[in-house]
């Protein structure tokens, strides 16, 4: 387990961000964590339940399952401490480790640890570093220095979360229970006493167990992440990783002569077999240059390292007191004012509404336009020309269809079709707000148009395009009847809004 193989991003973080990272770890490795966790906790839960059931004391189950939580929460911690350092754990491996995990710390500590407010943060120290007695106390002191308060808040938060998730589950389960079960109001949320109907008691126990099973690994992971972060801060893990990477890169690119290399396989072992004392204690590099050390000392004594941080915050000096007046006449007077204000308020509201209506009346023209669906101002100016065809509405006769029919009947087929095609595009550009570019060929137009118009119009426009293409590029006139039909049907598709 080398620190280089760490699979989470190591960097000094704010405490809460570290907690978030922990939650993220639990989400990410949920399979590896929850598989052994579920097997063990559910087995224990079943055994406890059976025991308490036999003893006719179901409430005891709640207490015991909660009390022994620190014991089985060693499983997620174990899994995490391996996975974070790149070791792949199978469920079976984790399960095999369970007995030794349970033995790892004396049981009496449970009683003591149970009430600790920073349980999840201390657990890694106790279980993974394997220090004892005074050494451990000192170590904990160092670690606690600026993480303990977050760790405590973490515990409080998770206690509340636990409660919340328990209620959530309980209410979800209870939804499926027939309503006529007689439960007192006071017992709805904590249905563990003997006078509650059995179904409710069991739902309560189920919700309670599930909430613990779901949340405890999150809590443990958060504490573990907090612990990692603290050590990162204390020992500069991120710097170490970056330095190792730098040297690796340089060595591969041949920038440094390998004979210069010192043995670089610094590893940090962290595991149950006993944590080698943290690298900070493993002093091997004797000070080589006392002079350099002196320099550093002087530097560190210089001003910028003794700068004190100044934080400003506001704090209430003298809580203001509400001066209460208990004059009933005074109050009555206010009530009268209230009456008066209500009239004013109501009047203002009504006047506003009337003004709105008047405004609408005045701007009647704009409104009716909107209501009929014409935009007050189109976002883009409609294109005026399309492959040389003038499609501005002004350039077209008002009654396109009639004009085209006249041309067609006069034998002016090309002009007739051109007029129809132009007219159709012009209407589409103006009303459907499609953008037609100069570079569009007939096929492009067809594609754009089919997206916005109805099935019927699409068919019509396809026919029109084909006819237009024939006359434009093959000088071939469609059958007389077809052309006439095109002219006559034009109105039905494009003359709706004028």
């Amino acid at each position: 387990m080398q620190i280089d193989k760490v699979t989470v991003a190591i960097r000094p973080r704010d405490s809460w961000e570290a907690v978030d990272l922990g939650l993220r770890m639990n989400q990410h490795w949920w399979k590896a964590i929850y598989a052994p966790w579920l097997i063990v906790t559910l087995a224990i839960s079943a055994a406890l339940f059976y025991l308490c059931w036999e003893m006719q004391m179901l409430w005891l189950y709640v207490l015991l399952f909660w009390w022994f939580k620190p014991l089985y929460s060693r499983i997620p911690l174990y899994v995490l401490s391996r996975t974070v350092f790149g070791q792949q754990l199978r469920t079976l491996d984790s399960l095999r480790a369970v007995p030794s995990l349970f033995m790892a710390a004396p049981l009496w500590r449970l009683l003591f640890m149970r009430l600790s407010f920073i349980r999840s943060f201390d657990m890694p120290v106790v279980l993974l570093e394997g220090l004892k007695g005074k050494e451990r106390r000192e170590r904990m002191q160092v670690l606690h220095r600026n993480s303990a308060s977050t760790a405590a808040w973490l515990t409080v938060s998770f206690f509340l979360f636990q409660l919340l998730v328990y209620f959530t589950f309980l209410l979800l389960i209870v939804m499926f229970i027939p309503q006529d079960v007689d439960v007192k109001q006071s017992q709805i949320l904590f249905p563990f006493t003997a006078d509650v109907p059995l179904l409710w008691r069991i739902s309560g126990i189920l919700a309670f167990t599930l909430s613990i099973v779901l949340l405890e690994p999150y809590y443990i992971a958060a504490g573990f992440a907090l612990y990692l972060n603290r050590r990162t801060l204390l020992e500069g893990w991120d710097i170490e990783i970056a330095f190792h990477r730098m040297i690796d890169r340089l060595r591969h690119s041949g920038s440094i002569i390998s004979s210069l290399l010192l043995p670089l396989c610094m590893t940090i072992t962290i595991g149950l077999a006993g944590m080698t004392a943290s690298p900070a204690h493993a002093s091997q590099a004797a000070p080589t240059a006392t002079e350099a050390k002196q320099t550093i000392k002087t530097i560190l004594q210089s001003a910028e390292f003794n700068a004190k941080e100044k934080r400003e915050y506001y704090r209430q000096k003298n809580p203001r007191k509400n001066d209460k007046t208990n004059d009933s006449d005074f109050l009555r007077w206010f009530a009268g004012v209230g009456q008066y204000l209500a009239v004013v308020f109501k009047a203002i509201l009504i006047i506003l509404v009337i003004m709105l209506l008047v405004w609408l009346g005045i701007n009647h023209a704009r409104w009716s336009g909107w209501l009929r669906g014409m935009r007050p101002a189109p976002k883009l100016a409609a294109p005026t020309k399309l492959f040389g065809l003038d499609i501005r509405p002004e350039s077209l006769p008002t009654d396109i269809a009639a004009q085209a029919l006249k041309l067609w009947q006069a034998g002016n087929a090309r002009q007739a079709l051109s007029l129809l095609y132009r007219g159709a595009l012009s209407r589409l550009a103006a009303h459907e707000h499609i953008t037609l570019k100069e570079s569009y060929t007939e096929g492009d137009c067809l594609r754009v148009v089919t997206r916005v118009v109805s099935q019927d119009t699409r068919q019509y426009f396809t026919r029109l395009t084909t006819a237009w293409q024939h006359i434009a590029y093959a000088k071939r006139t469609p059958e007389f009847a077809d052309g006439e039909a095109l002219c006559r049907q034009f109105a039905a598709h494009f003359e709706v809004a004028t």
Binding site: A9, R24, A292, I299
Partner: protein, 226 residues
């Protein structure tokens, strides 16, 4: 590398790193907002009580507006912060890193009604715990994310020494590591600092405390003191 960062590229091709905020801070921010609103109701209630029924009517309107629109208006006009979020250094952003806009803000705050079920944000909490970006249902539907605000730039506090050119060109992240070291070494134990400096002895060419000093000099150089 597992991280809480969420990376986003802006249209200008620059990467943004968002740091989604987890359930605990968000719960605290929510609580602050709730308490604040509650305080307002109390004050308004007492003040309006004397106006009788008119006062009650006004109070109801105030309660309605605050319950539903307090977060929306703050998020829009304070660029993603409500008082609670500001207190805890959080802010709401659209998924693409831009400040939350009207539609999404309204969506996420109306859907709070579902997150709140069945009791005090139960559904919201469970969703947050399952979502990698710590989003509640409202955030999912609105396409928003609650993140930690970026801290103000801090100028690196590196021990003043002579600057010294590094013997080899180092990459950006490597330069950062050196500067980080220089900044933080005084908070590490001396032995540990020397240990870290020894790792890069092939670059600095010296060991132990001399190595530390060389790293300081390099850091100064990287910081532009040339």
């Amino acid at each position: 590398m597992l991280d809480t960062y969420r990376e986003i590229e802006t249209p200008e091709g620059v990467e943004l790193q968002l740091r989604p905020a987890g359930p605990i801070v968000r719960a605290m921010a929510w609580l602050v907002d709730v308490l604040l609103r509650f305080a307002i109701y109390m004050v308004a209630g007492i003040a309006l009580q004397i106006f009788g029924r008119f006062g009650m009517g006004m109070l109801l309107i105030i309660v309605f507006l605050l319950e539903w629109f307090y977060p929306v208006l703050f998020e829009i006009y304070w660029r993603g912060e409500t008082p609670g979020k500001r207190w805890l250094g959080l802010r709401v952003l659209n998924d693409n890193g831009t400040p939350v806009s009207w539609g999404p803000s309204l969506i996420r705050n109306l859907l709070r009604a579902v997150d709140f079920l069945p009791l005090f944000n139960g559904f919201g909490l469970v969703t947050i715990l399952f979502n990698p970006d710590f989003k509640r249902l409202g955030d999912l539907a609105a396409g928003t994310v609650v993140v930690y605000k970026d801290k103000e730039t801090h100028t690196a506090l590196v021990p003043e020494t002579d600057a010294h050119t590094p013997p080899i060109a180092l990459r950006l992240e490597e330069q950062r590591a050196v500067i980080n070291f220089a900044e933080r070494s005084q908070r590490l134990t001396e032995v540990r600092a020397a240990e870290l400096a020894d790792i890069v002895a092939p670059v600095t060419g010296s060991q132990g405390f001399a190595g530390i000093k060389r790293l300081y000099e390099m850091a100064n150089w990287f910081l532009g003191k040339r």
